[in-house]
């Protein structure tokens, strides 16, 4: 949530004026092409997002050969969908099991696998998440309503390099025979960061019964 709490109906804030002023200056000086700015916003607001990661997860759930490919060569396996590019050049997948739960953070900035999850949510980039995910992961998970058994090992992946981590959540019970399309309704973006588990069939109305 933006820290100043203003909504869109109020007059432009100081930061809005300063950013727009810099953008106009750069256009006037011929240092940015406004059409290029629009193209970047369009791509990352509308075209790249968690819908990509959901396809990777459901194929991993339904195709053991694909899961093995993801383990052995994640860039190629994810690239098979065409999900390649900036902030996804060096992918690693980490798999949740009944004994191990994985959680991804970037304590130093906001590194995140754009190619499969899009731009990170505000909370992922926030100081509270970045400070606590490494030292207090159970408390962090509890804030997302996620409770794990006391003996589950939590593995936190701090994205300090250009390696980018995506969690493959556990496939929920009772989904045998589901199509990939229906399975996608159970995969949340938060589950692919590791702050939640995949949804149970009962929590995904509209999916296959």
């Amino acid at each position: 949530m933006p820290h100043d709490g203003h909504d869109h109906t109020e007059p432009p804030s100081d930061i809005a004026l300063r950013v727009k002023s810099l953008e106009s200056l750069l256009v006037e000086k011929g240092l940015v092409d406004p059409a290029a700015l629009d193209a970047l916003v369009d791509r990352y607001e509308h075209r790249v997002g968690p819908q990509n990661g959901k396809k990777v997860v459901t194929r991993a759930w339904t195709n053991p050969d694909y899961l093995q490919w993801l383990r052995d060569d994640p860039n190629a396996a994810i690239g098979d969908f065409g999900f390649t590019g900036r902030q996804g050049e060096h992918m690693v997948i980490v798999e949740n099991t009944p004994e191990v739960h994985n959680l991804v953070v970037c304590t130093l900035c906001s590194c995140y696998p754009w190619t499969v999850l899009g731009l990170p949510p505000v909370w992922y980039k926030s100081a509270p998440y970045r400070s606590r995910a490494v030292s207090e992961p159970r408390g962090v998970l509890a804030e997302f309503g996620t409770a794990l058994d006391d003996d589950v090992e939590i593995r936190v992946w701090d994205s300090t390099s250009e390696m980018r981590y995506m969690v493959i959540p556990e496939r929920p019970a009772g989904t045998g025979g589901w199509s990939a399309e229906d399975l996608e309704t159970l995969v949340t973006r938060n589950a692919m960061i590791g702050v939640e588990k995949a949804k149970k069939p009962a929590d995904a109305p509209g999916a296959a019964a």
Binding site: P2, H8, A35, T107, W123, V140
Partner: protein, 222 residues
């Protein structure tokens, strides 16, 4: 540098209070779109790299870094780099208009929409083809150096002096500490596993571990 960006293990920053995923918007204000796109597009002018860019945000005053929203920090860093590389002046930023002639189009290549999209789709790998023999192997115990560089580093404070185990090798990656100065040199990058109790002692909140990607110069055998 031991800046406000190095947040791992810090206390007192409040609850996470996440927006529900189903109600989330990608950008919350129109100026965030502009701050995002201007930052990506000006980086493509080739005057700075990703580590220079990260360092421009983290060397803000700690109070500013923590007070700013995320895209305010992007905006602050981009402004700093535009001035430091001479692309614009502080006076021009203050007045919001060009005071020196527009940049000679012959001297600088401004990417258009197709070029920016091709660039982000292609990405830019951070590993190098250098042939380097790793000094460490999977399973080795290592201790992160107790060092406090003033410049850019990607060794979080909470790992320094701590003992971990090499989990895997990622190959030879550009070393951020010198990349910040424009130098491209490669060192082996390791994924190091630290048990939660090694990092947080008795305050660790359950069985677990933190995995951190660390370059060879950060590590000593333990």
């Amino acid at each position: 540098m031991n800046g406000a960006h190095d947040l791992g293990g810090m206390h007192g920053l409040g609850p996470i209070n996440p927006e529900p995923e189903t109600e989330e918007r990608r950008f919350h204000y129109d100026w965030e779109r502009s701050a995002f796109a201007v930052t990506i597009a000006t980086a493509m002018l080739g005057r700075w790299n990703i580590d220079v860019s990260r360092h421009s945000r983290e060397r803000q005053h700690p109070i500013d870094y923590l007070k700013n929203s995320y895209y305010e920090n992007w905006f602050a860093g981009t402004k700093t780099l535009l001035v430091e590389t001479g692309l614009v002046t502080t006076e021009e930023i203050a007045q919001g208009r060009a005071l020196t002639p527009p940049t000679d189009p012959e001297s600088i290549k401004v990417p258009g929409p197709d070029e920016v999209l091709n660039a982000v789709k292609a990405g830019r790998r951070a590993d190098l083809d250098d042939v380097v023999t790793p000094a460490l192997a999977t399973g080795d115990k290592v201790r992160v150096k107790n060092f406090h560089p003033i410049g850019h580093t990607r060794a979080p404070r909470y790992t320094r002096g701590r003992v971990g185990t090499i989990e895997r090798l990622h190959g030879v990656h550009i070393f951020p500490d010198t990349h910040k100065d424009g130098v491209v040199e490669g060192y082996t990058l390791y994924c190091v596993r630290f048990d939660a109790a090694e990092l947080w002692g008795a305050d660790a909140d359950g069985p677990g571990a933190v995995f951190v990607d660390l370059w060879e110069p950060y590590l000593d055998p333990a």
